[in-house]
Assembly symmetry: C2
Homo-oligomer: 352 residues x 2
């Protein structure tokens, strides 16, 4: 993404995530040190937020606080969150700031289901898009790939896969700077006979589209960078991302334990520390934090709920970049260009 000095405003749900304001504020302090083009509106409990903010005058000077009566708990069902959190919750108000044009992106580490539901209701999806998937970035040997949906939602019809492909390609063009991203469907084999009926049907539809569809991809090929955009349902995507992150952390833990076993090993790791810094940079799960909800008439960024200030800062930087590039509008134009494909995929399911 190009770094221009456009001033953008980010609406932040300061109560979201496992740690709320105690992570959000220190995180924005970090971001504000090098991102001078951002302005923040923080939604949440004013007393809590101001207590933290008072210690950071430089952040205070580029921040406005909007008091909200309630925060959506992480384990509340989306339907209930809509009922009790409409208008009054920090999450609702942060999204509404985008709708009202007060902010160019919304950022929350809160309840994923509630964020998806509220975003869809407040911002609405583009024509032909049933629900907003979350697109994440997966570190690869080649750089990064876009994987969607990683949003932990259930289900996946052929037409949804096609929608995800169209949106993922549009997103990859901007965030990865590619002209014609290669798109693949995540499957349990690369043969045509494998997979659910909806995956196989989606493959047929994508083959006849003008997207750069390269077929099926297995989960072990994602990290080799064999596709730029990997399309899957929210359940499978979430499991794949977490299996990869867990393995990465597990390897770090094993190396750490082994390293402490002998002086020789400690010395060895010291000499090779540059390589480990490279590895850490490439495989840091935090570095891929900051998934974007695609297909909405406005930009919403979801951070993992359990991240620390460093992780939330990365999501905040993604939000600023997304806001500056006005990605939601760019994607809307790309979706319009693919409307025939989307309509066809959807109509076949109505018939079927």
């Amino acid at each position: 993404m190009k770094h221009t000095e456009t001033k953008v405003t980010i609406a932040v749900d300061a109560m979201g995530g496992d740690h709320g304001a105690s992570v959000v504020i220190p995180s924005l302090v970090r971001v504000s040190q090098h991102y001078t083009e951002g302005f923040f509106i923080l939604y949440g409990d004013e007393a809590q937020i101001e207590a933290q903010l008072s210690e950071h005058p430089s952040l205070r000077s580029i921040t406005r606080v909007e008091h909200c009566e309630m925060a959506i708990p992480m384990d509340m069902k989306p339907a209930r969150a809509l009922r009790v959190g409409r208008r009054v919750s920090s999450m609702w108000q942060a999204i509404e700031a985008v709708k009202a044009g007060q902010a160019q992106a919304c950022l929350s580490a809160g309840n994923t289901g509630a964020l998806m539901a509220m975003s869809k209701i407040i911002l609405r999806t583009h024509a032909g898009i049933e629900r907003p998937p979350i697109a994440g970035l997966w570190p690869t040997l080649e750089g990064e790939s876009v994987v969607l949906d990683v949003g932990a939602t259930i289900g996946g019809t052929a037409s949804q896969y096609v929608q995800f492909a169209v949106m993922g390609v549009a997103y990859a063009k901007i965030v990865l700077g590619l002209d014609n991203p290669r798109v693949a469907l995540l499957n349990i084999g690369i043969e045509d006979i494998k997979g659910t009926d909806s995956i196989k049907h989606a493959a047929e539809l994508l083959s006849s589209s003008n997207l750069n569809f390269i077929g099926f991809i297995e989960a072990d090929a994602i990290g080799r960078g064999e596709a730029d955009v990997v399309v899957t349902d929210g359940f499978t995507g979430n499991v794949a991302v977490k299996a990869a992150e867990g393995t990465s952390r597990q390897i770090s833990a094993i190396l750490k334990i082994s390293m402490e076993r002998s002086l020789m090993a400690r010395l060895g790791f010291f000499l090779a520390r540059g390589a480990f810094t490279t590895l850490r940079g490439k495989m840091n799960p935090n570095a891929s934090n900051g998934g974007m909800l695609l297909g909405l008439r406005g930009s919403v960024i979801k951070s993992h709920g359990g991240v620390d200030a460093e992780g939330f800062a990365i999501a905040a930087e993604v939000a600023i970049e997304v806001a500056k590039a006005d990605i939601a509008s760019v994607i809307e134009r790309d979706i319009e260009a693919m409307q025939t494909l989307l309509d066809e995929a959807w109509a076949e399911e109505v018939e079927g």
Copy 2:
């Protein structure tokens, strides 16, 4: 598993996998060097097998070759494999050797769907088991966990999850040597509201059973060893295993590249090589090769199709251990003890 000197016979589909006899024979040569209690019957093209065997007299002396007219291709649909491969294929005959009591386990790196279909038809499943899942071993910080189904099959009803849990626990008792294995359902969150209806229903059924059910587990917690048995459908299990394996290989590749960049890094890696050997042993995808098809009246071991001789040897060792412990019979007794739970789960779906 205890190592006794019981002589066991393994029926090997010598044509299975991406490389057939050219991997199978060198692999069995390795195994025969330290496993003196195994005897092999190799099913496949006699000319091909004998050409390889003639170079290895010690393996030749503990091997019988049964010529088979055909091998099932890796990409053939299971229904067609049954039609053209019944009785005449190396896969069919290797499974039938178990049914006939000539061998105590069957080993194949061939077409997974065909192996499942033929095994089910020849050996039959235990009462209350609809289809045989494949149980794999996942390396963890604590040791290993059983994950099932990793068999790349589609679907998952509540009663199937319950069946997988019962079989996985029985398998873990033997292969991990645990008295009361902790069993968890793989999900996209640990809250009760998350997941598909069938996963949520399976959780209710398992909570009221006398299994040591600890609830939901997310994919990043598998590697931390938080459960001994992780239950999921074959699609999700396959994706999770491959995402983890791919990440592990990706980290090795990054370290290898970084290592070659400077003399200092090379020296560092040399000094710390013990730690890398530990890591390689713990995270080697080959080391968890050798998934067992559970719930059948006979033992069938599936190796990955793409493995080298080292990987296939590990699967062969698993087959020998499984045969010696007569795991299929032990699991049958455990399944019988859980029949009430299985019947209840199944009956509810018939009603629903």
